[in-house]
């Protein structure tokens, strides 16, 4: 089926550009996220999805209709959606008696599911429940992970990597310092993960760096880790493979000292030191008489040694 898709030649330049955008590239596009409701999603879960959509605009798609699938049993429909909308991150919300307020967050590699983690929502305060001004959409958030749990188990480490991937937004080289507006703070404590988002207020301190005051702005969730479906180690390694062109180039022949001195190495050809052009001090030049006596001394020394 894939072969058939590729054989169809695009007839317009626009179609060609569309297909080129979806091709695998060296420097990848920003990951899009798709937010899907399950067959039995309730109001809480729907509101969570809407809030995340607001946070991640314009790099996300919110599906309005309910889709009756179970991500942990059958991943084909998720993969189909991902292929159609070119999204590699997804969030699926559902609710049933056994797993109330369920949220499955996951990512794809090559349109196949790479990692999936199921989280349960315990407390939820929505964007619209907190009445204050919000930051403009599309701002890049600051991410902070607190708690040593995030490095202990493999599940938590993957969850951290998944959350960074999900919420980080476009990669930029410069950022306007006044435009750093909001921060997402994840704390791992007692088996729960507290997700809070705060708006940043920069106050004057005496020096150049401002003092920070925080104001609670956005969705706040208390999450509990439920099931996980993590990729096998070799598939994960394959997905992390960096192309050689993007690897940071090592500068050769430069080394640094612990004191901060930079040393460089120059490679030279072999020099004949006897033919070096040096400064000639006329006063130190040997007079012919002295040279003769020196030669005689050398000869006598040689005879002695022999």
């Amino acid at each position: 089926m894939d072969a058939l898709d590729r054989v169809v030649k695009p007839k317009t330049k626009r179609a060609k550009r569309f297909l080129e955008k979806r091709e695998p590239k060296l420097n990848e596009n920003i990951k899009n996220a798709m937010l899907i409701k399950g067959g039995n999603a309730n109001a809480t879960v729907t509101q969570v999805l809407k809030d995340v959509y607001a946070l991640k605009k314009p790099y996300s798609v919110l599906y309005k209709k309910k889709n009756i699938t179970r991500p942990f049993e059958d991943q084909t429909s998720l993969e189909f959606f991902s292929k159609k909308s070119d999204c590699s991150l997804f969030m699926f919300g559902s609710h049933n008696k056994k797993r109330p307020n369920n949220l499955v967050i996951g990512r794809m590699y090559d349109y196949h599911v790479l990692d999936m983690i199921e989280l349960g929502i315990e407390n939820f305060v929505s964007l619209k429940d907190i009445k204050n001004s919000k930051c403009p959409e599309g701002t890049k958030p600051m991410l902070i992970f607190a708690g040593d749990d995030f490095d202990v188990t493999e599940d938590y480490r993957r969850l951290k990597s998944l959350l960074i991937d999900f919420f980080r937004g476009p990669t930029v080289s410069n950022i306007r310092l006044a435009g750093l507006e909001y921060v997402l703070h994840f704390t791992a404590l007692n088996g729960k993960i507290y997700f809070r988002s705060y708006k940043l207020l920069l106050k004057k301190s005496g020096c150049r760096t401002p003092r920070i005051e925080l104001e609670e702005m956005g969705p706040s969730l208390d999450l509990v880790l439920r099931r996980t479906h993590l990729a096998s180690d070799d598939l994960y390694k394959l997905s992390m493979k960096m192309p050689k062109a993007l690897k940071p180039k090592k500068k050769k022949n430069i080394s640094h000292d612990t004191f901060g001195t930079t040393y460089g190495r120059i490679h030279m050809q072999k020099q004949d030191l006897s033919k070096l052009q040096t400064r000639k001090m006329k006063g130190l030049k040997k007079r012919p008489a002295e040279r003769i006596t020196e030669d005689q001394e050398k000869k006598s020394k040689r005879i002695k040694k022999n």
Binding site: R6, L26, Y109, I144, F150, S161, A178, H185, P210
Partner: protein, 365 residues
């Protein structure tokens, strides 16, 4: 007096500085890890303050968030800045956190036949203008495409060449030639595409799209592929060191429905005799095989553990020693279990050893 006032001034200045810095300094046990390219900070300190907070740790969470954000902002403000159209902009470094890609690496496409030929001959494409002057219509027309400059098929007058059949339709001939050219071009394009995608597409059945399969799955896929020829794999050559696949014969063998009446009668009577007998019937060879297999598995597990610990050399010798002590100890164990059947134990055991394909025998050699 002056000295005092100077000292006082200095002390005051220091105090002022300290106060200012106090407003932005945060004390932490462990330093945070920063990834400024992603605007990310990781705090490894255990959240002890929060643990005693109770069910709603909102205020403590906010304090912790404030501290961490202050540290991150301190780091960000130390980056080199530049001014871009009235805004102060900091230059971010490359992100250090490695995250998985969303699509696999692009594979280099193989060259098309024309590109190979051009490379061989050293042909380079010349830059050509888009529009060409068309004498016939008296205007600038495209070089190729819709309403092009010199279109064969659109001429209204064609001279019949000398050697051609006078009743042949020259216009239809030109249109036919054009259709053939288009078809040939399309065929070549598809062939080039197929060559490019032959490298990329996995061949159908049994192979996983992401290219990740275990050895067994690959083996099975290969076997299925071997058998799916017209002669059901009879004339398929094997690689030099490849072994014949195990278990590729009939799965179950049944006796014919009615054939050997004497043999059938004998079998049924034997069955009834066994069912009637009070003593349990034990198949000694099967029992000994089972025991040997279990012990092999245990030894393999032990060996794996020892090689993991790194004591390879010592382990091998030790295991070899254990091995040799094996059979006598097995014989000894059996005494309790078998009861009266001990006599048949060792000979059957030894016999099975010689004939069978036991990997243990091979290993000893």
């Amino acid at each position: 007096m002056e000295g005092q006032s100077v000292e006082e001034l200095l002390a005051k200045a220091e105090q002022g500085e300290a106060e200012k810095l106090q407003r932005i300094t945060v004390l932490k046990e462990l330093e945070l890890e920063f990834d400024l390219g992603n605007l990310l900070a990781s705090d490894r300190n255990p959240p002890t303050g929060l643990r005693c907070a109770g069910p709603t740790p909102e205020a403590e969470l906010r304090a912790l968030a404030r501290d961490n954000t202050q540290l991150l902002i301190n780091q960000l403000w130390q980056l080199p800045t530049e001014r871009v159209e009235e805004a102060i902009v900091a230059r971010l470094p490359e992100p250090t956190t490695r995250l998985p890609r969303e699509k696999p690496l692009p594979r280099p496409r193989p060259l098309t036949r024309w590109q190979q030929f051009a490379r061989l001959k050293g042909i380079r494409s010349k830059k050509k203008t888009n529009l060409v002057w068309d004498e016939v219509s008296g205007q600038w027309r495209r070089r190729w495409g819709y309403q092009r400059a010199r279109d064969d098929t659109k001429e209204w007058l064609i001279e019949v060449p000398g050697n051609a059949d006078p009743l042949e339709d020259q216009f239809a001939k030109r249109i036919q030639a054009k259709k053939e050219r288009v078809a040939k071009n399309e065929l070549n394009r598809l062939r080039n595409l197929a060559r490019a995608h032959k490298m990329q597409l996995p061949s159908g059945a049994g192979l996983h799209p992401t290219g990740h399969q275990s050895k067994e799955e690959l083996g099975r896929a290969m076997q299925v592929a071997k058998v799916s020829t017209a002669s059901v794999g009879r004339f398929q050559e094997r690689l030099p060191k490849e072994k014949a696949p195990r278990g590729s014969g009939k799965k179950r063998k049944f006796q014919p429905l009615f054939g050997d009446f004497a043999a059938e009668k004998k079998n049924q009577l034997e069955l009834l005799r066994i069912m009637n007998s009070k003593k349990p019937q034990l198949d000694v060879t099967r029992a000994t095989n089972k025991q040997m297999r279990e012990e092999d598995q245990e030894e393999a597990a032990k060996r794996r553990k020892m090689s993991q610990k790194g004591k390879r050399k010592g382990g091998r010798q030790g295991l070899g020693g254990k091995r040799k002590g094996g059979p006598p100890s097995q014989g000894g164990k059996r005494k309790g279990g078998l009861g009266g059947k001990m006599n048949t134990g060792p000979p059957g055991f030894g016999g099975k050893r010689k004939g069978g394909q036991r990997p243990g025998g091979k290993r000893r050699k």
